[in-house]
């Protein structure tokens, strides 16, 4: 018993010093715990995600580059909207500014939610009350300047900035969905 107490007392000081120093060097613990669920292998899933932006996309082209955002980086892209994705076991976001075939700007955000159920959950959570379902496109809604859909484990948000880009959103959505099969 005495030996046990001595061991405990000997271990406490270095552990405590380490803890105190660490507390001083970092911010408080995250409010949202990262998902504990097993996810698709990182590199392979990233490759699949980026491949969605390649090839024919109804004439739309990536203007600059596709950005990839992990859990931490997501705050730098969508700020306080990030936790509702992270709570749903979000894996990674691929985001790109695109130009439609006639040169109108739009933004394409593809969230890899790791599992179809997670994608369905965020789709339901973000559904605008006044957005309309899209005929012949299950799990899709469109609002002015916006087209949102879910396919498999992906949740996709397309945003337009003018009427020309808005008209191009359904075509881009259809092309992306075709690549998600």
């Amino acid at each position: 018993m005495r030996i046990f107490i001595l061991i405990v007392l000997a271990l406490v000081p270095p552990a405590f010093i380490g803890w105190m120093v660490r507390q001083g060097l970092r911010s408080p613990a995250p409010a949202v715990q990262p998902a504990g669920k097993a996810r698709p292998s990182g590199a392979e899933a990233d490759k699949t995600l980026l491949a969605l932006f390649q090839g024919d996309l109804a004439g739309a082209k990536v203007k600059d580059k596709v950005g990839l955002y992990d859990e931490k980086g997501l705050f730098d892209y969508i700020d306080g909207a990030a936790p509702i994705f992270i709570q749903r076991h979000y894996r990674k976001l691929a985001a790109a500014e695109m130009a439609s075939a006639d040169g109108a700007d739009m933004v394409c955000d593809v969230y890899d939610m790791a599992e179809p159920a997670n994608a369905q959950s965020i789709f339901d959570a973000e559904k605008s009350a006044t957005a309309k379902p899209v005929p012949d496109f299950p799990d899709a809604i469109s609002g002015p300047m916006s087209f949102v859909f879910r396919a498999g484990r992906y949740y996709v948000k397309l945003t337009a900035f003018d009427a020309k880009a808005e008209a191009a959103l359904p075509g881009l959505a259809k092309a992306l969905k075709g690549k998600m099969k």
Binding site: G24, P30, S128, G143, M145, K157
Partner: protein, 349 residues
């Protein structure tokens, strides 16, 4: 002591033996070990206590050193003239006219900005969104604030924000850069060279990299938009101070309400003009779909950010006391959520 027979008059008899009377030799060893053991335990405990003290000493050692050496942002609030209006709420179809009427109701821009002063204006330019998508402050509102500040005789008018999305896209797409420049502002984009490290002295944030106009300005004018926010419920005046900081935003969100108040307590603006021309009711702070936007044609202005946020919360259908940073702002002495208790003027369209 002798090992056989009763102890002689000079033999030292252990107390424990005397007390217990009939202990064996093994028990005697144990008894003397107890004393050594007690010494060992005592020494280790002393070491542990010393380590605790050392741990406290090492904690934040570096950042405290920095904190002492860094500049602190001054209190930008202006004195309130006797009998002056605290808050003005104006409704009407013309955003610029609403701003003018609200500032006039507070006593005019001259109450807040004096001749030759350097002024920084802080709209929300966080997002690659158009004005109609209501994620950024309305450019007509921002431009009118710039014009009023220039007309009040400001020596320098900066306009800046640390955008969340790519700054070039945000400043252009929002329409704010073009409108502000045309009105006479110097637009400062959040390039790496635009930040200065300052002492925040908050409960959570000790230091931070802040856009330089906030360090150099005599007056600060906050021009936020009213919108829903996924994590903090709302983004209005107090939350808009996230946009003074550089660096990764994930740290700020770990305790969002307290970090909002840390930054608001650091800046203490001269005047706040709350833009509710269009408000974002859902999927904030990013928005995107016009289905989430509501036209309100309202401007509220004043110096009490907590009161203005409490009013803004009601536009979003929220009870102000359900919004954590409003409650924390009140606790920190930054204002009152009882905006109706202030001297308020409401003007229709």
């Amino acid at each position: 002591m002798s090992s056989n027979g009763p102890p002689g008059p000079y033999d030292r008899v252990p107390e424990s033996r005397v007390r217990k009377g009939s202990q064996t030799a093994a028990q005697t060893d144990t008894a003397s070990m107890d004393r050594r053991g007690i010494l060992r335990v005592g020494a280790t405990a002393a070491m542990a206590l010393g380590s605790v003290a050392l741990g406290f000493g090492l904690r934040d050692r570096g950042s405290h050193k920095k904190t002492r050496a860094l500049p602190t942002i001054k209190d930008h609030r202006a004195d309130k003239p006797a009998g002056a209006t605290d808050m003005a709420i104006v409704r009407g179809p013309d955003p610029a006219a609403n701003v003018r009427r609200a500032v006039e109701a507070l006593g005019g821009m001259g109450r807040f900005v004096r001749h030759g002063e350097r002024v920084v204006i802080k709209p929300n330019i966080g997002w690659n969104r158009t004005p109609e998508q209501a994620a950024n402050t309305n450019p007509d509102v921002v431009a009118e604030v710039v014009r009023l500040v220039v007309a009040a005789g400001a020596g320098k008018v900066w306009l800046t924000d640390a955008s969340v999305n790519t700054p070039e896209q945000c400043f252009a797409r929002s329409g704010i850069e073009k409108a502000a420049k045309a009105a006479g502002a110097t637009v400062v984009r959040p390039d790496a060279s635009a930040f200065r490290e300052v002492n925040v002295s908050g409960k959570l944030l000790r230091t931070g990299d802040v856009l330089f106009p906030f360090v150099e300005a005599d007056r600060v004018i906050n021009v936020p938009i009213v919108k829903q926010h996924g994590l903090s419920l709302a983004s209005m005046a107090l939350k808009n101070w996230y946009g003074v900081l550089g660096g990764q935003r994930v740290k700020l969100h770990q305790n969002i309400h307290l970090s909002i108040i840390d930054l608001a307590a650091m800046v203490k603006p001269t005047l706040t003009i709350l833009d509710a021309t269009r408000i974002l009711l859902a999927n904030g702070p990013t928005g995107g779909s016009l289905a989430d936007v509501k036209q309100m044609d309202t401007i509220a202005a004043g110096s009490d950010e907590v009161a203005l946020d409490a009013f803004g919360a009601t536009l979003l259908g929220l009870n102000p006391t359900d919004v954590g940073f409003i409650v924390e702002g009140m606790k920190a002495g930054l204002g009152t959520p009882q905006w109706q208790s202030l001297k308020t003027v409401e003007l229709g369209g």
